[in-house]
Each structure stands twice: as C-alpha cells, then as structure tokens.
Symmetry: C2
C-alpha cells in the first residue's frame, strides 16, 4: 500500500507500533509521553523535559512566491513553539536542520535565519545548533527542547479530557486558512482584511503564556490547532477515549474571514489548519477562570461527552446535529 492511500495518521499509527519500547532502558523508564502528543516528555532531575520537531517543505507548507524568507523563518519557529505551548511548557533551545539548493542566494538564507531569530528571542529560545544539507528543495526542520519549568509542575496532554469538560479555544479560527487561500489565489481584498489574514498565516502568535496559565489553573488537556479544529479535536477524543460536541455558532471567527470568504468561513474554521491556537478542555469553572485571567480571548465552543468515543458531533444554530466526514489537513490525502 502506498503511504498516500494509508494516510498520514494511519502511517503514524503503524510506525508507533514499530518503534516499540526498549524495556528497562534508563531512557524508557523516565519517559512520560512518547509518540502521539504535541511533544515527547520525560522526567528530568527537577522538571519535565519536552522535545518536539516539525518540518516545513517548500511548495508544500510555504512558497517564496507569496512569503518573504524572513516570514518563512519566523513561521517555522512559531509553529514549533506552538507545540511547546500545547504542553504548557517553556522553550529553551532550538536546533535548525535545513536542506537548501546550491543556487539559493546566501542573503535569502540569512533572511530566513533572521526571521527565526526574531521569532525565537521574545520567548527566550536560543538557536544552538543545526545542520545544512544540499537538496533540490528548501526544507526547514526545527527541534525545540523545552521544559515544564519547575519541579512537580504538570504538563498538558491530549489524553486527559473527561466527560463533562467544556471545550474551549484561544483566539479565533479560520483566519490562517483564509490567509493561505488569499495568498495562493492572489485574491483581491480590502487592505485591512488582507493585513489580518496575512498576519494569521505568516506570523501566528505562539500561545506560550496561555499554555502556562492553563497549567496554573489546573487544566490538563490541550493540543494546538495545526491541522484544523476537527482533526485536532478528534486527536484529543481518540487519545482520551471520549466524544465531543461542538456548537458551530460558538466558534470564534473573525469578521475579516467572513468578509473575505462568506459562507466558506465556517468550513475554514473547522477544517483549515495552521491557526496555532490552543484547543483545550477542562471543568467549566476552571475554563471560566481562564477566560477572566487571560489577556487573549478564550471561547467555550462545546463539551466532552462519554458517548460516541472518538466522534465529533456538530450542532448548528437550529439545533440540528451532524457528524463531519472530512476532518482536516492530511499530508498525504491530496498527493
């Protein structure tokens, strides 16, 4: 079977079985989370250590025809920081592995690196190593190593959602996918709308402080939205063995997305990826406390159910119920 037929998530499940644990190794004994969350986690001496890796490939994830190299570098760091945010962690060190074609301009590589550095610095993230290889296409693979920050401090996982939890999301959804469509289609839009959508796709804000706040308040379940609300929520449902019910009317969507894409806005919010917002669940009282204490808007959009394990149910404004089939971005679905 070709990997395109099996799909990204089928392939990951298959590989997870292959990479079975080495019993009794010191590394295995200290492991808290292996393959299957936003980051790997293990017990360090005084806090939980985190590590995550992510790749961006030219013409798959970005194109120099619609983004500057500085923006591309910043985005690569931001999307990885988002995985650390989704663990409630703090970033420490980054390693940057790039493949570059020989005819790439040095100044473009320097611009790429400047973008990375600019995005890393405010979060205290130090770029401390990497690797450069020749290849026909530009690809950027970033590893970020972080930690929970202090002894006994908890982390956020995908597997701790419980029936009765409410589901909430930081910021708004769909603007990144709208921005990508705008740039790819070279769509003409009012300048202010363009600016908002452009910022959403090119310079997403890693929700590190929000992840910290959630842990502080006692919330334990989160994922970052990289592949779309439905795809990422279904990962929480599968990992936690629960179901989920979403109220479509509650999903926060910016006016600019509705202005630019009309009725498609809801689909962009449900299935468009790369918003890099935190999707989380917890007892209503804790989530409402987070709403009060967070400087970033937090919206309750649904709740976790005991029935329909692994299934997401959508409830529209008329109270009609449906179960979506197309979930979101799969790396191999369109290839």
């Amino acid at each position: 079977m070709k990997v395109a037929e099996l799909g990204e998530f089928g392939l990951i499940n298959r590989l997870r079985q292959t990479a079975t644990a080495i019993p009794d190794s010191p590394a295995q004994k200290k492991l808290v989370l292996g393959i299957g969350d936003d980051a790997a986690a293990w017990r360090g001496d005084t806090s939980i250590q985190l590590a995550t890796v992510d790749s961006m490939v030219q013409d798959v994830h970005f194109s120099p025809s619609w983004a500057s190299w500085t923006d591309i570098g910043a985005k690569a760091i931001a999307s990885n920081l988002s995985d650390i945010a989704a663990m409630g962690g703090l970033p420490l060190y980054a390693l940057v592995a790039m493949t570059l074609p020989g005819d790439m301009e040095t100044e473009d590589v320097v611009a790429l690196y400047c973008g990375m550095r600019r995005q890393a610095a405010p979060y205290g993230l130090a770029i401390v190593g990497g690797n450069i290889s020749r290849a026909p296409l530009v690809s950027i693979t970033i590893t970020i190593i972080g930690h929970s920050g202090s002894p006994k401090r908890a982390i956020l996982t995908r597997s701790s959602a419980r029936p009765g939890d409410v589901i909430a999301v930081t910021g708004s959804l769909g603007a990144a996918a709208a921005g990508l469509a705008m740039l790819r289609q070279n769509k003409s839009l009012p300048p202010q709308v363009q600016a908002v959508l452009r910022q959403a796709i090119l310079t997403p804000l890693p929700r590190i402080p929000e992840g910290r706040l959630l842990v502080d308040l006692g919330i334990r379940t989160a994922i970052d939205i990289s592949d779309g609300l439905l795809a990422d929520l279904s990962r929480i449902c599968q990992a936690s063995q629960v179901g989920a019910r979403l109220r479509i009317a509650a999903i926060p969507i910016r006016d600019e997305v509705r202005t630019a894409f009309g009725e498609q806005a809801v689909a962009l919010a449900l299935q468009g990826g790369e918003d890099y917002e935190l999707l989380f669940s917890g007892p209503r009282a804790l989530v409402e406390k987070a709403q009060l204490e967070s400087s970033c808007p937090i919206t309750i959009i649904g709740d976790i159910t005991a029935e329909n394990t692994g299934v997401i149910t959508l409830v529209d404004e008329q109270g009609r119920v449906s179960t979506p089939r197309q979930k979101g971005w799969d790396h191999f679905a369109s290839s």
Copy 2:
C-alpha cells in the same frame, strides 16, 4: 552570492553570526556549547545535556538503488549517535522527522523505521517522537538528545586541543568512502572485500563506548569523522587555534581498501567522509592508556602544533612535507 559559491562552512559561519546570543535569557546562561561543535551542550540539573541533529537526503546521502531501507534507517541513527559519541556522551531520546513522497510503499517506510529501531536499541536510545511531511524526495532528519551521564562529568569538544597533544583515531579510515565508490560504480570486487566495504558505508559502528573511555581517562578533545580526516581535523585546528601535523604512513587503512582502490586508498582515508570514527587529541600518556584499555584499535597519527594555526601539514614516508588544499566533503562544493 549563491550558497554553492560560499560553501557549506562559509554559510554556517555566516549564520552563526546571525544567530547571535540573546543576552541574559535563562537558556543562554546555561549554554555550554552553541553552534559549532558535534552537539549543542547546556548545564542540566545534574549533568550536561546534549542535542544534535543531522539530515540524510535521498540521492545526496543515500540511494535506495544501492541500500535497503533498513540499512538507510540504521545509518541515519548511527551517524547521529556518532555525534553524541564525539561529545563523550550517552544517548537518551530521538525524534525522527521524515519527508516522504505519497507514492512511497508503506512497507518501505516501516523497513526504514525498523532499521532505526534496530540501531537505536543497543545504545538505549528511545525513539519518542517525530514528524511526517509530504515532499518529492525522502529525507530523514534525526535529533538525538543525550547527556554526559553523571554530575561534573566532562564532555569532549573541538576547542581543547593543545600543542604537544598527539592526534589519534579509532578504527580505520577510508573504508566508508571506498564502500560508497564501490556501490555507486557497481564495482566488481572479491566477496570478502565487498562485505567489509559495504559494512563500512552502510552500518558504521557509533563509537559511544570509546567516547566514554576517552572522557574517563581525562582526554578532552574529539570530533567524529563525518566529512573526512582533513576536513574534520581542520575543524579541531580552527576551534582550538592550533596547527596539526599528520604522518601519512601512520593512518590506519584496511587492506581491503588498498586491494580495491590501490593508490587512491590514502586519498580516501584523508578526504573520504562517513567513517564515523573518533578523531581526538590529548597528552601522549593518556592516549597510550586509551590504546591499552580500548577494545577498538586506536592509532596515533600525528601531533598538534603551536605554529601554523588552522593548517594541517602532511608528512610522507620520505619525510617530505605538504599542505593539502582539497579538504573533504562540502555539501555545496559539487552543486
């Protein structure tokens, strides 16, 4: 200027200047080694933490036409473990980022992963995460996180060579480059010669125990030979601000390399990469102790000099002295 004109090492130097330190960040304060050694290193709570990343790209570093996917996976882990060996460290966790074309066979990806796991297990290395992206070519980027193993235990660096040190190497050199040439040229050789060269290029042995022994004995300078003896020795010379003198006749070269490549054998040993042996320097008494205690052969091949900073001098069997120009593998030199 194109990156091919600047060259890999020029580009790395340029980027190192760009990725300047963020002063006063907690991560920066704990950093021991940033860009420019075999691994990044920082102070953990009870030992030095290490992290290294390396990429292998199809048709640049490997080809499924001359290696099985299992061999390719094993090699990817081995070459990264070698960077941890060159720090005198122990490996703990690996993250595997792969780009794959959609028409790749799932069974080939599983074979790749099995090869990784088989190579990781004996070293206690646990594969705990990763990323899969679609791309036209297969590439494998592996991050390994390791540590020095116990409090106050030292690490091996490139910058601690001192005049008067002898230079030594584990195992033998040139066999990996000979193996690559054999596979690429489909060269016909006696079966026993083929077996040795094939093993050298496809399943190099990470010198983890040897790196540990060197630290135990008080040796402090090492690098692994990934780009060739001359290229990697010149990195020690530059980082330590010293010169080096190599006795060509002393370089350990297997008979199989001489049988297969005759007079080219010395050039393969000097400039061929991917041997993944440890190249190190230290006081003669310590290196001789390492020779006695190591189960892997260790050969003294030259010495570190105060004069000619950054320059390698070759001394042939007749005592004639030369300074090589072509140093070894540069990712962009041939593009």
